[in-house]
């Protein structure tokens, strides 16, 4: 007995931003090399009045075209773009979706490691007999945190929402998971103002960083080199530990689905792991880095091509600093 991932749906906002659109905004920068190395052609951003909750509702409704919402008995909502400081967005989602009132619902604040955490939590809830059909939602609108003149991050991040149904099953479809945390890197990827330590500052000073990028402490800041180094130093070995924990080798894995952060970085890690291109998912062209949404989007895409049971290693890493990963088994189109 165990838990299996039954289905995934995802949604992007309507507003599509191509590299040509960005070139028009930043005429001094050539996006050709960016497109080739980072692998992103376009991303989608919400309009001013649209929120992550709006996207989440759409993704869930897409899922409910295939599965009854009445069976849902727990909602795990992963976001760093909550509707309010309080209450918990998952409670509003329960009402908007018309889910049963006899369910558990909570938000958890993680970024790129969020989906892998969510799968592990869902497995734990099911295997401890606390829930049978879990709705795991990831929804993120980092575009709201980006400074208008932060060219690098505007090129990388896109908005999206995903909805995954994880259900009780006779077979175990979720293997062993491992976790990692290093809070000493909390300020490597941060929105400093607006929480309880520093309130939003309408007169925040504009700070220049990297190559002519600008942000303020009200906006998202990312120390690119540090995040890149952390990922390359920690994640390949961590992935080997995840394999070991599941008694598997690199060759046993049908597909490695890592958080889709940046194509260059993914290939860099792939080589360290000695995995072949065919067994390592890289596709950021349409949508870019959508934080906790990249892994479920990648799983949905990958599952369209599978013919029999597929062993997949999923690994998420980023803001926190936080990372987690584990084994899942997929045997149908999600």
């Amino acid at each position: 007995m165990g838990a299996i991932i039954k289905a995934i749906e995802y949604i992007y906002p309507n507003n599509k931003i191509t590299n040509t659109d960005l070139s028009n905004q930043f005429p001094d920068y050539d996006f050709t090399k960016f497109e080739e190395k980072v692998g992103i052609k376009n991303r989608y951003w919400v309009d001013e009045n649209e929120t992550a909750l709006d996207l989440a509702i759409k993704a869930c409704e897409k899922l409910f075209l295939r599965f009854s919402k009445d069976a849902i008995d727990y909602v795990l909502y992963c976001t760093q773009s909550p509707e309010y400081v309080l209450p918990t967005t998952a409670c509003i989602l329960q009402d908007k979706l018309g889910l049963s009132k006899n369910i558990g619902a909570l938000d958890f604040n993680l970024g790129c490691s969020g989906y892998t955490y969510g799968i592990s939590l869902a497995k734990a809830l099911i295997n401890s007999n606390q829930a049978k059909n879990i709705l795991l939602v990831t929804s993120e609108t980092y575009s709201k945190y980006l400074h208008p003149l932060d060219r690098s991050n505007r090129a990388i991040f896109g908005d999206a929402a995903t909805a995954t149904l994880i259900s009780f099953d006779k077979k175990e479809g979720v293997g062993e998971f491992l976790f990692g945390t290093d809070g000493s890197g909390y300020d490597k990827l941060i929105v400093k103002n607006g929480g309880s330590k520093f309130s939003y500052n309408p007169n925040a000073e504009e700070i220049s960083y990297g190559t002519n990028n600008i942000y303020t402490d009200n906006h998202l800041y990312m120390d690119g080199p540090e995040v890149f180094n952390f990922t390359n130093e920690v994640i390949p070995n961590f992935t080997k530990e995840v394999l070991h924990k599941n008694n598997l080798n690199v060759e046993d894995i049908s597909q490695f689905v890592f958080h889709q952060a940046n194509a260059f970085m993914l290939n860099f890690m792939r080589k360290r792991l000695k995995a072949s291109k065919e067994n390592f998912f890289v596709d950021l062209e349409d949508g870019g880095n959508t934080v906790s949404c990249t892994i479920p989007i990648a799983l949905k895409k990958y599952s369209q091509s599978i013919l029999d049971e597929s062993s997949v290693i999923i690994v998420g890493f980023g803001v926190g600093l936080s990372w987690s990963g584990g084994l899942i088994k997929i045997n149908n189109k999600l």
């Binding site: 090399k33 690119g224 080199p225 180094n229």
Partner: protein
């Protein structure tokens, strides 16, 4: 590694069109940007197992300064 091999490898990795000299200031190159910094970090990490952090990137000037940062003992 020979300095010359390092410099030609650097030129290739960063896709720099002009010829690099030890005296070339990397920050003055048209190709220098955060993407180039990422490629540089990857190249140096693979070739020397040396990690360039944000501060090292900020402090790089000429190719020679990069070589010193990596460590002269790693070159022959």
């Amino acid at each position: 590694m020979k300095k010359d091999d390092f410099i030609s490898g650097l030129q290739e990795e960063l896709e720099i069109e002009t010829t690099l000299e030890t005296t070339t200031n990397l920050k003055d190159l048209e190709e220098w940007d955060s993407m180039a910094a990422m490629l540089l970090i990857g190249y140096v990490s693979n070739e020397f197992a040396v990690t360039l952090n944000a501060d090292s990137i900020k402090n790089i000037t000429t190719v020679e300064s990069l070589i010193e940062m990596i460590g002269l003992d790693k070159f022959n």
